[in-house]
Subunit: 400 residues, 2 copies
Amino acid sequence: MKSNHKGGIAIMKEKNKRNVLRCVKENGPISRSEVADQLHLSKPTVSALVEELLQENWLKEVGPGSAGLAGGRKPIQLVFNSRAAHVIGIDMGGTKVRTGICDLIGQPLAVDEFPTQTQKKTLLKALKQNVDKLLKNAALKPDDILGMGIGAPGMTDADRGVVIDAPSLSWSQYPLKKEAEALFPWPVMVDNDVNVAVLGEQWLGAAKGMKHVVLISIGTGVGCGMLINGQLYRGATWAAGEIGYMVTDMAKARSADLPPPHEGYGFLEQYVGGAGIVQSMKQEMKGQPEPLFPNNFSAKDVFQKAKDGDQAAVRVIDEVIDHIGFAVANMISIINPEVVLLGGGISRSADWFLPRIQKTIQDFASVSAPVLPTALGENLGVVGAVSLVLRETESVLKEL
Amino acid sequence: MKSNHKGGIAIMKEKNKRNVLRCVKENGPISRSEVADQLHLSKPTVSALVEELLQENWLKEVGPGSAGLAGGRKPIQLVFNSRAAHVIGIDMGGTKVRTGICDLIGQPLAVDEFPTQTQKKTLLKALKQNVDKLLKNAALKPDDILGMGIGAPGMTDADRGVVIDAPSLSWSQYPLKKEAEALFPWPVMVDNDVNVAVLGEQWLGAAKGMKHVVLISIGTGVGCGMLINGQLYRGATWAAGEIGYMVTDMAKARSADLPPPHEGYGFLEQYVGGAGIVQSMKQEMKGQPEPLFPNNFSAKDVFQKAKDGDQAAVRVIDEVIDHIGFAVANMISIINPEVVLLGGGISRSADWFLPRIQKTIQDFASVSAPVLPTALGENLGVVGAVSLVLRETESVLKEL
DNA sequence: TGGTTAGTTAGTAAAGATGCCTAACTTAGC
DNA sequence: GCTAAGTTAGGCATCTTTACTAACTAACCA
């Protein structure tokens, strides 16, 4: 048994080992020798650590590569075993829950979804069933699972795994991590859906490998996840990124023809969120004799009408895009990110309005930054949740 | 000679040593035994490290404390030697340069200032002279100096120590670190003045010990420094915190009666910066028969008139404060800091307008945060620059 | 063409250095 | 004698260096 060196030397070995693992993972097939060079470790040390990693199945040898130009022994190529473990990602939305099992490089082996239940108990039961099915589909056993990540649609205390407030699910102070861990035999991590999304995009999407990323998600509500110095930034009280409350028009904010703030929606949200768009459209239609829409319509419908050229809809959407443009410009001036990603329902129409947003940035922001739609599509939440688990698990290797 | 263990075991010893040092520094007089307990290190290890730290003069023994209730040998009390080294801090402003020498706990031993020269060469020469004087006044030799920090009024590449752009000094791509290090026999670190200020306030001022801090400085220009996860956040291209470009009123931003953006000033800056206030006041005075001010007046004068109750001035200042309120509210919604500090010339009038800003936050921000004036007064820049050096020097001990 | 030799690189083994821990001891006060 | 602070001695884990073997290329020569 290992001695209980608390602040001890064993930590360093663990660190070196993780570094070796990461080095192999990132640099594809690579020899022990080259790993030693890259990590500034001696060859024997690397050999010993690789030996352990092979034993533990994190690495595989894939036969000899080719020798260098100047001759010499052929190197033994090492590769990361992306199937050494698997991670489950859960994207818990207001209307549906998307689930998936991924390997260690984020490849989905099985995905599924089911409608969100309003009762917490039934929701968890459905989740359990669904995950069991997923395991069967992927031909995996619980032992193969390293952990499970969950993206929840609301403010979340990621340390304790408590969803502090999720209006769309009527959750408040719900200890999701604890409840889920009672149901599953692996560790569970929970975070805000937007935070999870930005992790996913930084791992495998449009912000791959970047250190400073802002993701703005515009759908029913408006949210924003930030990656700063390569780390998720969650704020002092888990409330960072509430861009939905950004005021881009003081005069309007102060005027009386808007509902008072703090009834669950912020200023920007009132303009660019789904409900806000519908509201504005209704307002716009008042002056017109013939209703453009039936009684029930969605923001998506308004977008469609605007694309089709209807003037009233265009006016509404133009204002939405204008607000988004200024919100993005403000974020760029404050955060100076490498990239701004636009996600949520609105990202489907990205091509259409991105140029206008870019113009606003160019005119009003202090510096520039590319604005792109998210790249991971419908699996974004799942992949992000998987990334959450992997980062937390490997968090020891944060420093070089 | 030490073997060149690169990724080696020596790093851990260094870390433990720094932890011991920090432990003694933070926990006042303390015995070896208690340090061992707190850091989960063994007594012999602590003794050895303390021995080295005593040799190197970082620690001092201050005679025996009192024995415990149950008897036993009296502990030997250790204290941090705050005079083991000294650091020079330079606050380089647009009109004057403030200099100071501090000990390791931020106590100023000598401070001074001199007018800013427009010529770089003469400025550096004056700096050299002034620092030499400072050393003499503090009765120190160059060997006693650990390093020098400089806060520069503009966008700064802190890695290379290059001031990228400082309009008030007409500097562009100026390698200040390199130039200064040619003049002085110690390492020099350079950063933005607002970044330096937030470090200072977090060290010894109004944000002591906090991990998430926003400092907004409003004077000639408008700047913002952010401490996130306990670390300075500088952005992808050293441009983070350009709050002067935040747009809080889209309609006005688009209207034609303002100068076009990107002539060196951002939207918010045009309203709340010194020049902007003067401009607004002039605009306001046009309608009035009798001029309130002589031809030349400053933002400070306008503030004074407003405090005295002049209606035109009050209108101008009210708008300024309104803009600031929304800017602060937006920052809080986005960053969710533990505290927002207000610095720069405007902080003198803090008492007067803080309540209104707080009202705006309460009405429009997603969460709350205290808003306070900076606490370090005229030495803020100097102390912050000292802090910059100390953090960089001790950066190894960032993790617990 | 085919064999031999020199040079180069991958990986392993043994020995030395460093730093931590535990256990036992000394010191100093009750 | 009891207790707690601090030191000494011995052992263990980890890394590095040095020296080695294995394996391959290139070039030379019969």
